[in-house]
């Protein structure tokens, strides 16, 4: 626990955790919509929507994982770096 900062440790993580649902919905909306429009242009709107939704879900999952991992600590001290330097 870090007592020197004004906000308690873990606050940033829990704040970010609350936005997971929002990120998931936004990913589906943005890339589902984009996929649908591209599909409309190419003549396959339904297939485009399906591909877009899956891609959007993948992108937002990556975003959520990235954000939460970043909050764990500074990137220099992440587990990968420690392993690499060992």
């Amino acid at each position: 626990m870090n007592d020197t900062t004004e906000t308690p440790a873990g606050t940033a993580t829990s704040n970010a955790a609350w936005s997971v649902v929002n990120h998931m919905i936004a990913g589906i909306l943005v890339y589902g919509g984009l996929g649908w429009m591209v599909g409309l242009w190419l003549g396959y709107p339904q297939q485009g929507l399906a591909v877009g939704v899956v891609c959007g879900l993948a992108a937002s999952t990556y975003l959520v994982v990235f954000r939460l991992r970043q909050l764990d600590g500074p990137p220099a001290a992440s587990a990968d770096d420690v392993e690499r330097s060992a």
């Binding site: 990120h23 992108a59 990235f66």
Partner: protein
Amino acid sequence: MLSAVLPQSEVPTDCHLNSGCGFPAPDASIFELDPVVTVTLFGQQFDVTKIEMLLALGSILIMGFFLLAFRKPKLVPGKLQSVGEMAYLFIRDGISREVIGKDGDRFVPFLFSIFFFVWIANLWGIIPGAQIPVTSIFAYPVGLALMVWCVYMFLGIKHQGPIKFFTNMMFPPGMPTPIYFILAPIELISNVIVRPVTLAIRLFANMFAGHLLLTVFTVAAFYLASPSVIGILGSATSFLMTVIMTGFEALIQGLQAYIFTLLTAVYIAGSLHADH
């Protein structure tokens, strides 16, 4: 508007298991109440229903309670003042300091008002005589969510600058550059559009579903009441479920008010400091 088009559905009280009519399942029309008073202001007709009256009464009750509690604050608090102080500390220490930190203290009045307003608006759902949560009408959660949206957008623009606010939101540092093109739209849509939508729907859907559930079990208890084994057992079970679900609703109502306030604090925190 809608209530003028749709017929007001009245649950028939003489409809029982063996009287030949089917189960009068309650539907969304139980949320469309008859106007108690109709007011005409500037040529526009306003229907005042039980919902608006409960809303006004709830606001007056909260204001009255806290005015009484803090009217003459003493160093050694009386009973009422103790309850009021507990409520204040719950919001300040439990939500504001926990989520925003020390500089969140100036938002405590806002969070405090939101929590108690939403809570009493929800609580009407299980208070005998009232028995409909104000927040189960979609306009009220939408209004609250819009207010929260205005507050956190304004704070973000004020504290981080009009351009910085959006760039901080869209480009968290430490990401490979090509990834930004894919993820920035998600961040923007998520923070600006999806946030208030989910905030409103979360509160509304919980209260709507809770009220519908209570109505289904209450109507079933009346409908099944008849001199037969199925009738007696079914009616008793439905009545028991009504009681259990009422207790459950009491929990959900407090929880949803807490979550709404907590998320408001989270959004304010995100606007005060960029997330990194």
